[in-house]
């Protein structure tokens, strides 16, 4: 049996916010949740998606950090910024291809998901995957995913021409080799100027 790994399947997310709450209870960043729960299209759909750090093999966040504040553990976990070093420049926030790190102005520091390192290094599941009722966030083995899900888990992404491999997997239909967030789609998905819901809300 292979080792435990982290799997995301945002298409299973039901938007219950359990992960957001559980993340807040972590001792290393008590009261602040590191999970982004995105509402994909607020006006037209209830679709939501959780985003945790993908723990890239060669993390862009660490490469663009001028303070050399982002380090990887031997297990390949990209840690939150080292507090004595982070100078709060937000480079990592803007450059991370998955939009993960957050800058907190009050304390002038970046903080991000660290794979619940205190828990996972002790053999426990991350907080979010423990509480997720639909298992959109799951911490299990590749075999288990293969046995129970329809799709397959991959960890290869392409952004522009940048290929990114991650420690965290995403569940996609069988046969998919990599995920390419499609830049063509970008131009088309701006908000409709005649979006009635938005007009009613005065947005």
């Amino acid at each position: 049996m292979s080792e435990l790994a982290f799997f995301i399947d945002s298409s299973r997310c039901i938007g219950c916010r359990a992960c957001v709450q559980a993340c807040e209870e972590c001792d290393t960043h008590r009261g602040v949740s590191m999970i982004h729960l995105e509402r994909i299209d607020e006006h037209d759909s209830v679709q939501t998606a959780p985003q945790v750090c993908m723990h890239c093999k060669d993390p862009v966040c660490a490469r663009v950090c001028p303070a050399d504040a982002i380090k990887q553990t031997p297990e390949g976990v990209t840690q939150s910024a080292l507090k004595p070093r982070c100078i709060g420049c937000s480079n990592c926030v803007l450059a991370c291809p998955f939009g993960v790190p957050n800058y907190y102005g009050k304390i002038d520091q970046m903080m991000k998901c660290d794979y619940c390192y205190d828990r996972t290094s002790a053999g426990k599941k991350p907080m979010c995957a423990t509480v997720c009722p639909s298992q959109a966030l799951a911490f299990t083995t590749l075999e288990e995913i293969g046995r129970t899900r329809q799709g397959t888990a991959i960890n290869r992404w392409v952004f522009g021409a940048e290929v990114v491999e991650t420690k965290v997997f995403v569940v996609v239909p069988r046969g998919t080799r990599e995920v390419r967030p499609d830049l063509v789609q970008l131009g088309g998905s701006r908000h409709d100027p005649f979006d009635v819901a938005a007009m009613l809300e005065g947005a």
Partner: protein, 361 residues
């Protein structure tokens, strides 16, 4: 690649040597050709010269990273812009008071953390401000030839001021190192208290990275205080042993300075320059997101970031063949849209395989 790394090491070594030479020259000149130099302090001065080499070496290596380099120069460029300079200096002074003086950004992360850091840092800075000039022979104290009751302070060999033996100033001057040691010990008390109780700290702290510096400071402070006790209370009890032990702790810390956690003392002031950068970036034109068309960062910041990414061979610029749009760059998508895009893409893959949209028909 290997060649570039070698070149970088050579360059950093040269910077290290130059800086160490500068410190040696400072000692020679400041102590008037070693006339004022106390030979008992040679090991301290030697370790300081080595530490200056290490610090300059590491700083130079750090500056070679493309992002560090760019923001370092950009920071100075923004700060020194003639039209902004007076206002920038005012802001700098204000920042020095709040970030270095009061360290309020740490207070916002917790009272115990702040107390620990404030006492340790100011205790250590005070000690450094006394010890370095003393061990370099830049400052010395002598009683006047005419009166044993009067002290004369010399700076760079020049008599600067004098004070009577029993005055407050004398008490402060001769006990300043003890005061700094007590400040450090108070800070260490807070630090250990926090590190022993805070579950977050317990989960992530490391012996070598986080606790070792505390042990070093503890050893220096305690042996330093014991020297005073030995002199004034215990009639020189084990004075030689204590002073050697104290020297070893200080020298070890000096040698450790460039490599461990203490390096942040030299690196972290970069935070001050980020404030100027942030203001300049916010005052200039804003970059809007390709997807939601909302402004999300300063144009300056995004353009600089693209430059850094190019230097690091991060290829976020999409090849026109795949998008059909000329010059699309993933850096022009705001972080929330990046997250949405990932979900939309994954969802799209499933829909391509016949799964219905999540919201129904």
């Amino acid at each position: 690649m290997a060649n570039a790394i070698q070149k970088g090491v050579v360059r950093a070594t040269l910077w290290g040597l130059a800086f160490a030479a500068l410190v040696v020259a400072g000692v020679l000149v400041g102590s008037r050709g070693l006339k004022d130099f106390d030979t008992a302090l040679v090991p301290y001065a030697g370790a300081t010269v080595f530490a200056s080499f290490g610090l300059a070496y590491r700083y130079a290596m750090w500056l070679q990273r493309p992002p560090t380099r760019l923001y370092w120069f950009r920071g100075w460029q923004i700060f020194l812009k003639p039209s902004r300079l007076p206002a920038n200096i005012v802001l700098l002074v204000r920042q020095l008071f709040s970030s270095v003086g009061a360290q309020s950004f740490i207070a916002r992360r917790g009272a115990a953390r702040w107390a620990a850091h404030w006492f340790i840092s100011w205790g250590s800075l005070l000690a450094a401000a006394i010890t370095f000039p003393l061990s370099f022979g830049w400052i010395r104290f002598e009683t006047l030839r005419t009166s044993q009751e009067q002290y004369q302070a010399f700076v760079f060999g020049l008599p600067v001021f004098r004070f009577p033996l029993g005055s407050v100033l004398a008490v402060l001057a001769f006990n300043a190192l003890d005061i700094s040691a007590i400040m450090v010990l108070i800070g260490l008390g807070f630090a250990m208290w926090r590190r022993a109780r805070d579950r977050g700290a317990l989960a992530v702290q490391q012996l070598s990275g986080d606790l070792m510096p505390l042990f070093l400071l503890f050893a220096i402070s305690v042996t330093g205080l014991l020297l005073t006790v030995s002199t004034h209370v215990a009639r020189g009890f084990h004075y030689n042993f204590l002073s050697q032990f104290h020297a070893v702790t200080v020298i070890f810390t000096l040698l450790y300075l460039p490599f461990g956690k203490f390096f942040h003392i030299f690196q972290r002031p970069a935070q001050l320059s980020i404030e100027f950068y942030r203001r300049a970036s916010a005052a200039g034109p804003q970059a809007t997101c390709l997807r939601c068309a909302k402004p999300f960062a300063g144009r300056l910041h995004i353009d600089d970031l693209k430059q850094v990414e190019a230097a690091l061979a991060i290829k976020f610029a999409a090849p026109p063949a795949t998008t059909g749009i000329q010059g699309t760059h993933y850096q022009d998508v705001c972080p929330p849209c990046r997250r949405k895009l990932l979900a939309i893409t994954q969802d799209g893959l499933w829909r391509g395989h016949g799964r219905p949209r999540p919201e129904g028909p």
